[in-house]
Symmetry: none
Subunit: 237 residues, 2 copies
């Protein structure tokens, strides 16, 4: 409770006072295990503020990605949950690497296209940073992870929730199991240099806002991956 707020010390506005108070609640571990915050009405009463002020503060925190809200449900700390993983686990058993690649070849060029048409300057900068990380990665493991992050970022920037979910589904299944090893074998120093160049080409097209070129570059990239995967598989089935 903050009942003893001195009325004469109003150097900071009501808005920032409330924001600070809620931010403290969130950052400290003072929440139930599900991360649920008190209701807006409750917070308003507790902080002796109006609901509008509380909501403005929550708006800020939501924009910062620290909380997420759902009408009729509540306000929660952290990121909104992604139910995709569960579904991916369920269907992973009857999906083989080739059909996963087929699916990627279908959806990722389209995502690159949308990405090129919707990316902001910030987005492009973030992609370049990810490509750099992929390039600089030491081990094959690490390179895989940054490569995945790059593809995922492109999917997110594309700005279509359904297609992002479809991509995530494919990605989860792909990361799932088994063929991890096969892909590892398919990633040699030579292919890595090749992949880096293709990533550059994709990002350049996105930077140039050329959706068609981005889609083509992505398709080319995936075809390369596909070929290498096939080679690696027919060698040792």
């Amino acid at each position: 409770m903050l009942h003893n707020r001195p009325k004469d010390l109003q150097e900071t506005s009501e808005a920032s006072r409330v924001l600070q108070a809620i931010r403290q609640i969130v950052s400290e571990g003072l929440l139930p295990s599900d991360g649920r915050l008190p209701t807006e009405r409750h917070l308003a009463a507790e902080l002796e503020a109006g609901r509008a002020s509380v909501r403005r503060a929550l708006d800020t925190l939501e924009a910062e990605g620290l909380i997420w809200r759902k009408q009729g449900k509540g306000t929660f700390a952290g990121q909104p949950p992604d139910p995709t993983e569960e579904l991916a686990a369920q269907i992973a058993s009857d999906v083989d690497p080739l059909s996963a690649m087929e699916a990627r070849l279908c959806i990722e060029p389209a995502l690159a296209d949308l990405c090129a048409r919707r990316a902001t300057a910030d987005d492009v900068a973030r992609l370049r940073k990810l490509a750099e990380r992929t390039h600089d990665a030491e081990g094959s493991d690490s390179a895989e992870i940054w490569d995945g992050a790059l593809h995922h970022a492109i999917a997110r920037i594309a700005g279509n929730r359904l297609m992002l979910t479809a991509f995530t589904l494919i990605d989860e299944v792909r990361m799932g199991d088994d063929w991890q090893e096969k892909r590892h074998r398919a990633r040699t120093p030579e292919t890595r240099a090749f992949y880096d160049a293709q990533h550059q080409k994709i990002i350049d097209a996105i930077h140039a806002r050329d959706g068609t070129a981005a889609a083509n570059a992505m398709r080319e990239h995936l075809e390369t991956l596909f070929d290498n995967l096939r080679k690696s598989m027919e060698g040792r089935p």
Copy 2:
């Protein structure tokens, strides 16, 4: 009703009599659109048999894969549904009609392509039958359903589990609600004739095993749907 069953002709047992009767109900198209069978109690009364006999018959049909049952829900013809619906229901809230159409434009042409390369003669025959049903459908509701079944069949024949799941995801979200009404307005007698012709074109391409043509025909079909949806939306937002 089978009230006039002669008591003296008991060459076949009660069990097989009930089984035959229910099998007929399932195989004929005497079910509501969702494939729901009458309740066990209802069937028992209708067939003048006990519930136990009806259940034994349903056990057989379930073992044959012709029906599936769920406690508290009912008995249905066909196969049990995917776990995809759950995911669809969860993300349906933040998907708008336009982005759903965007996703369809991405995935369905690719599915048509794969379908053309993998469909058997039986598959093509089934597609033609569905297109016919769509054409003959009386109401706008009914046409929607058969249209959906046609697109779903193409996705299934394409033979890629991941892409089928992605399609089902989009389809479930699309069928969810809200915009149902908008799509209804977009479906007029003129557009329906147009759609029928486009369906024909798609199936012809599949029949000819021409993947590229099938994809293009599908894309054209979806573009038409997209345009009509947009018109219908801007008219009354």
